[in-house]
Each structure stands twice: as C-alpha cells, then as structure tokens.
Amino acid sequence: MNSKNKFIFAVSGVILVFVIWVYWVSTSPSEGAKSMVTFVTIDNLIDDYENERVRLGGRIQDGSIQISKSNLLDVHFMLDQGDESVKVHYSKTRPDLFKNGVEVIVEGVYTGGIFKADMLQTKCASRYEGDLRDESEYSMEEVEI
C-alpha cells in the first residue's frame, strides 16, 4: 500500500469509527432516555405518553400559580396550550422569570392527572441576547397628544 492510500485508509477509519459512535450514542436507549426527550402536546400527553419522560411547552395560566405555604419551593400551576391545559407540579428552584403568563418548558412524567416536572425553563431561546422581555408591548407612560 503506498503512503497516500495508507493515510486515506487511516482517515476514513477514524471517520467510520466516529460515525458508528454518533449512531450508537444517538440511538442507545439507556442514555437516550435522559439526553433525548420528545416534545409532546397536551393532547398526545394524556392519550399516549402517560408514565413516559417527555417535554411540554406552554404558557402559565394567569393566576394559577399556587406556592405551598410550608415549602416555598413547592409549586402547582396550570400549563396552557391553546384550549388544552394540564396541572404541573414542580418542587425545585424556579427561574427568576417564572411568573403568570410566561412561556415555560417543563420536563417530567405525567401520572395520575398531574405532570410531575423536575426541569423547568422559562422560554428564552437566546438568553444571552436581550430579547428576554416581552417585545410585543412597550411599558411606558402614555401621554395624550
């Protein structure tokens, strides 16, 4: 084998090993359950995904946040997706932006009519970049012209 072919062979080998590795990590079910989670709608959740780890996105229903009196970390709220809604329970540190009407993503398991979340993110895709606040309205003093 000449030198050039030897190297093409070696580099291809590296790439092949890598492709197998990516495929294995992408499909391996053990770790996959944790690292790749399906986004579902509330509709599907209740019908198809009970007791399965999934993600839900939606808006916190206005006035639905109930913080437990005995443990401030413990919270129940209603998550709205259009007309559908589901009760969510979460008992870890909440992000600062967590409040009524905010869009959140929760990850957890739906059992017995309650979605028990252990991960909650307030939705802000580019959280570094300043479009965190609601851009649809100005919060300013109005002055009649």
Partner: protein
C-alpha cells in the same frame, strides 16, 4: 433629523457597495488601474458610511430618542450609560448593524493595509467582502431596519429598558468579542476565495492571513469563555456550559477555526494540505454566518418560527449560497491546489496535524448533529425532540480526550518521520507520569472519564514542561544565561512555537477544570434563621436575613455561614434575592433576580443561590453547590489567551534575518 441621517447613510452605504462591485468588476474586465483605485475608495466610503450610521444609532441610544422603535425597546431613562451603549447589540436589528459595522472596520483595515500588496488578489478580496457587506446592508436597509420609527399613536416618554440579567459588565464585552470573532473570519475567507479564483497556490497570502486568523480566533475564544463565565456568575444554575444551540453556534466555528489555525502552519512550512485548508476556512466562515443566524433568527427556540421571521429564510439562503459557490469553485480549481508532497509516516508532525484536524472537524460535526437533530427529527419523523447536555457530553468526552492526547503528542513528533529512539526519549517520562496519576486516582477511587482526563492532562503537562526545560537547558549551556532570562529569551526567539505550548498548557488546565464536573454536589432547602443543613463535607447555616431598598431594586440579603463537617468556620456568603421594578403595581411586571455569591478556591467553589424568601416566617430558600476545580477553567483560559497573544505578536522587521 439626525436619525434620518443614520438611515440615509445606511442607504448610501448600500449604493456605494454596489458601485464598488461595478468599479472592481470593470477593473477586472478592462484592467484600467484607475478603476481599481476608484473601487478601493468606493469600498472605503461604503464601509465608512456603515460605521457612521452605527455611530448615529449609538448616539440615539445614549440620548434616549424614543422616537426610534429600537431605542424605545432596549433602553429607558433609567438605563445606565454603559448599558445604553450595549443596547446596540441587544436586539435583532441593532446587532445586524453592529455586525456590519465591525465588518466595515475590518474592510477598511484590509484595504488600507494591502494597498501595495497582493495586487492580483485584492480586487477579489474586496469583491468578496463587499458581497458579505451587501447581505447585511440589505438586511439592515430592508428587512430589519434599526432606524424604524416607533409604531405608537402617542409620544413615548420612556422606553422598555434593558433586561437586568444583561446589565453586567461581562455582558458588555461578551457579544462584541464573539462578533469580532464571527465577523473576522470573513477576511481569511475572502483571501481564500480570491486565491481560488486567481489560482494562487503560493503560501504568500497565507502569511498575510495567519495573524488575522489568530486574532479572530482569539476573539471568538474569549467571547465563548466570557459567555461561560457570565453564565456561571449570573445565571445561577451552577454551570458554565449547557450545550444550548446558541452556545453551540459559537463553538462550531471555533472548532473548525482551531483546526485551520493549526493546518495553515503546515501550508506555511511544508506547502501541503492546501485543499484541506480551503475546505476548513470555507466551513468556518459558513459556520460563522450560520451561528449569527442561529443566535439571531430564533430558529431554535421554536422550530415553527422558521418561516415567521423574515430573517430565517434569507440567512439560510445565504448560507447555502456560500456553500455551493465556494465548494463548486474549489472543485473546479482543485487541480491547481494539489500537492505532490505526501505524508511519509504516521509518526510525523504532519500526520499529527492531520489527525488533530480530522478530530476537530469530527467534533464540530458531532456538535452540529446534536444541534440540528431536533430540526431533522421534526422534518423526518414529525416528532419534536430535544437533545440535552448528557447527549453532547457523552458524545464529545471521548473525542475531547483524543484531542487532549494529540495536544501532547503532536508537537513532539518530528517533521517527516520520528525515529523510534526519539519516540522513546520523548514519551517515556510523560507516560510514567500518566500511569502514576492513574495509580493515585485509583487509590482514591476516582475512575472513568475523570481519571482519563486527569491522567492525560498529566501526560500533556509533562510533555510541555520537558519541552520548556530542554530549551532552557540548551540556552543556559550555550549562552551562559540564568534560567529566568533563558526562559524569556526562549519564548522571544520562537514565539509561535512556545506561545503555542503555553496555549496548550491552558487547554490542559481547562480540561482539569472540566473533569471536576464529575464530582459536583448540590442540594436545596428552606432554612430558618439559625438552622443548619449539610451538603457534601460542608454545613450551611443561615445566620441572618436582612432587607434593603436600593435605587432600582429591592434586595433580601442572606448571611450564610459555611463550616466544614468538623465544625471549622470556612467563610460567609451573602447571596441576594432582588426584585427589580419592585414599585410596579402589577406584580407580574416585577422581576425577581437572584444575585449569587461564590466562595472560590483552586480546589473547589462553594456556590450559593438565594432561591426564595418567605419574609413573614423568616425562612430563606437556598441552593448550594460544591463545584470542584472550576477555577482551573478560568486559569486555563488565561494561559490560552496569553499563549495566543505571544504566538501572534509581530516580530520586529529585520530581526529574523539577524538570526
């Protein structure tokens, strides 16, 4: 009036950019040198006008002219001056203009610097840069214009203000650094395309862009590190890297850029890997545009907003266009860039570089795969999937370890071929060190990735120390210098080599920091005053809770005492729970913010977050994390930066000939 001037100069800049293309195009066609001079001046004018328009927008932000929609969105009367300026890149249209401004400044520098050099390449370099400018000029003029007036039927008295999370000095530097990096790759890309068009396979232009590339690459790296640092200090989840799409967007061009920074050395020294370098720089530039697109268009926050935002399809089109045009060009020209020279042996420096390159690209692809997997999955299977940090960690840790290994091995290999004796001589001691570390760690019951990382770090660290030691010893013997002056001279005489080693040392230290992640511990609870809880080997006591009203927020301040499990006092921490806009009658408009407090040592950080407060019952809720070795990530990045600066520091003219 003045905002109008901003909009007009943006229009004019666009017009001049088009004229630049015509002038240079005619020069290439008719070869009349005056046309080239005109083209250069037009390009300078176009760039200058873009910069002026950016200055005008910045001025409006400082003045608080809320007649402009952009100003009203991102500043308010209360916003401090610094953050009025940083609002320039806080929103979409402003950041597009900012991108354009940086590119324009770069363009001015390149045009002026090369007035007397690269006569064959420069016309095409200017054309490529101008086309990229045109894209952003089109964006800022027609799609997302920052000079858009406020759309309200009343006079706007005060603006929205900048998010408190972003009111942090790090946040003032992080985005510009990233942008300087993203944008800077346009220049080497432009030279590469020009070289392809002119069939210039010499290494001359590589020398010109080497420093550009290093500076740009350094900016990108600093930007990424600052982002992580800010996340660690401000966001309060205890980590510095979450593998979210926006972070990945900046990491991908850094990876291919790192490969490029290494492989142009081969082209400079050995005139090899020319096609490969072209592939890398095109890829890196494309990833920079793609990164801006991911960060700015909101594609990733919701896959559905793809068509909703006007920017998405345009950016995507531009990315595809760059890829098709550049790679077609490369394919057509491939014969001119092939080299007869071949790699001779696996144990040669050349092949070390080659494998380092392949692994960097492979890692970039892994990150890319994880980042776009949700999009592909939705398109193909119709289910939306999220890819979390565990996936990226699992996939990248082995690749990262291979890279770490190559960091140690590569520089010690000789060009062309390394003899067996030299292999034994160079690697015996580092391997012994690595095995001793493995033994020690096993005795401490530390296994897995952390063991691998730490022992490989020891291996690479030893190779670097030996290299320095050999160089110093040679000098002390030859020139009768003291060890310290030999050390300084050694670096001075061969900046790129020893600067490179110092950067590698930085990478090793960063890996040590990463390995600490395996031992993170965290816990959260509510504490009454005087109560204690345990986390790891520490006891946390809530000593006192106090309240304070400050100019723009209301603060609850905790006083936590930290003891070792033996009862020894370690430190006190004062995390705060702040409420911004606390006077707003609508509770939903008030914005809570957790101000962290961290006790840092080189062994571990104790990281405290005040998560909630119940003032009536005097209960504070806290999350405490023990994060080992995090400091080494920051210490390593200092070395990385210092090493890079040494490597790219200009050598005085004439000095080379003397040696």
């Amino acid at each position: 009036m003045i905002p109008v001037a901003g909009a007009v100069s943006l229009n004019l800049s666009l017009a001049f950019a088009i004229l630049t293309l015509f002038a240079i195009g005619f020069y290439i066609r008719y070869n009349d040198f005056r046309l080239f001079l005109t083209g250069q001046r037009l390009s300078l004018a176009s760039s200058g006008l873009s910069v002026i328009s950016t200055i005008i927008l910045t001025n409006e932000l400082i003045l608080g002219n809320f007649d402009l929609d952009y100003v009203a969105h991102y500043t308010s009367n209360e916003t401090p001056l610094l953050y009025k300026i940083t609002a320039l890149w806080a929103g979409q249209s402003g950041s597009m203009l900012f991108w354009l401004a940086i590119l324009s400044i770069y363009a001015i520098i390149v045009v002026l610097q090369n007035r007397k050099e690269h006569h064959l390449l420069m016309p095409w370099v200017i054309i490529v840069i101008t086309i990229v400018q045109l894209f952003f000029l089109g964006m800022t003029n027609f799609v997302t214009n920052p000079f858009e007036p406020t759309n309200a039927d009343f006079i706007v008295m005060n603006g929205n203000g900048l998010n408190p999370l972003l009111q942090n000095p790090t946040m003032a530097i992080h985005p510009p650094m990233l942008y300087l990096g993203y944008v800077g790759f346009t220049i080497p890309f432009a030279f590469a395309i020009a070289a392809l068009i002119k069939k210039d396979a010499s290494s001359l232009w590589i020398k010109t862009i080497r420093r550009w590339t290093l500076v740009t690459w350094l900016f990108l790296g600093i930007g990424i590190i600052l982002g992580g640092w800010w996340a660690y200090l401000e966001l309060g989840w205890g980590g510095y890297w979450a593998w979210d799409p926006v972070e990945n967007a900046s990491f991908m061009p850094w990876l291919t850029g790192t490969a490029f920074v290494h492989s142009i050395i081969i082209q400079e020294k050995k005139n090899m890997l020319k096609i490969w370098n072209m592939i890398l720089i095109i890829l890196t530039f494309t990833l920079c545009i793609f990164g801006t697109f991911l960060t700015r268009s909101g594609v990733m926050s919701s896959v559905h907003s793809f068509t909703a935002s006007g920017l998405g399809p345009l950016f995507f089109g531009f990315v595809i266009l760059i890829l098709i045009v550049s790679y077609s060009l490369l394919y057509v020209r491939r014969k001119h860039f092939q080299t007869e020279k071949q790699l001779e042996s696996f144990t040669s420096r050349e092949s070390g570089f080659l494998f380092n390159n392949v692994v960097f690209v492979v890692m970039c692809f892994a990150v890319f795969w994880g980042t776009i997997f949700p999009v592909i999955s939705e398109a193909v299977r119709g289910t939306k999937i999220t890819v979390g940090a565990p996936f990226f960690n699992q996939i990248n840790i082995p690749i990262g370890l291979i890279l770490l290994f190559l960091t140690g091995v590569g520089p010690l290999l000789a060009w062309r071929n390394t003899s067996k004796e030299s292999l034994i001589k160079n690697f015996t001691f580092p391997l012994i060190v690595a095995f001793i570390i493995v033994g020690l760690l096993l005795a401490l019951d530390i296994t897995g990735n952390a063991m691998m990382t730490l022992s490989l770090s020891g291996f690479v660290f030893t190779t670097i120390v030996i290299e320095f030691w050999r160089g110093i010893r040679a000098r002390t013997r030859k020139f009768d210098e003291s060890i310290i002056s030999a050390f300084i001279k050694l670096i001075q005489k061969n900046r790129s080599r020893y600067g490179g080693y110092i950067s590698h040392l930085g990478i090793v230290l960063m890996f040590v920091g990463f390995s600490g992640h395996a031992f993170d511990i965290e816990d959260e609870w509510g504490l009454q005053i005087g109560a204690k809880e345990t986390v790891g080997n520490y006891e946390i006591e809530l000593d006192a809770l106090s309240e304070e009203e400050r100019p723009n927020h209301y603060a609850y301040i905790a006083n936590l005492n930290i003891y070792t499990s033996g009862g020894e006092f370690v430190t006190d921490l004062h995390p705060e729970k702040r409420i911004y806009f606390h006077r707003d009658p609508n509770p939903d408009k008030r914005q809570p913010h957790s101000e962290l407090d961290i006790y840092s040592t080189i062994v571990r950080d104790i990281y405290s977050i005040f998560t909630g407060v119940d003032p009536k019952n005097q209960v504070g809720y806290f999350k405490i994390m023990i994060n080992p070795l995090v400091q080494w990530v920051w210490i390593g990045s200092y070395f990385l930066i210092i090493g890079t600066v040494i490597a790219m520091w200009p050598v005085k003219r004439g000095k080379n000939e003397l040696e």
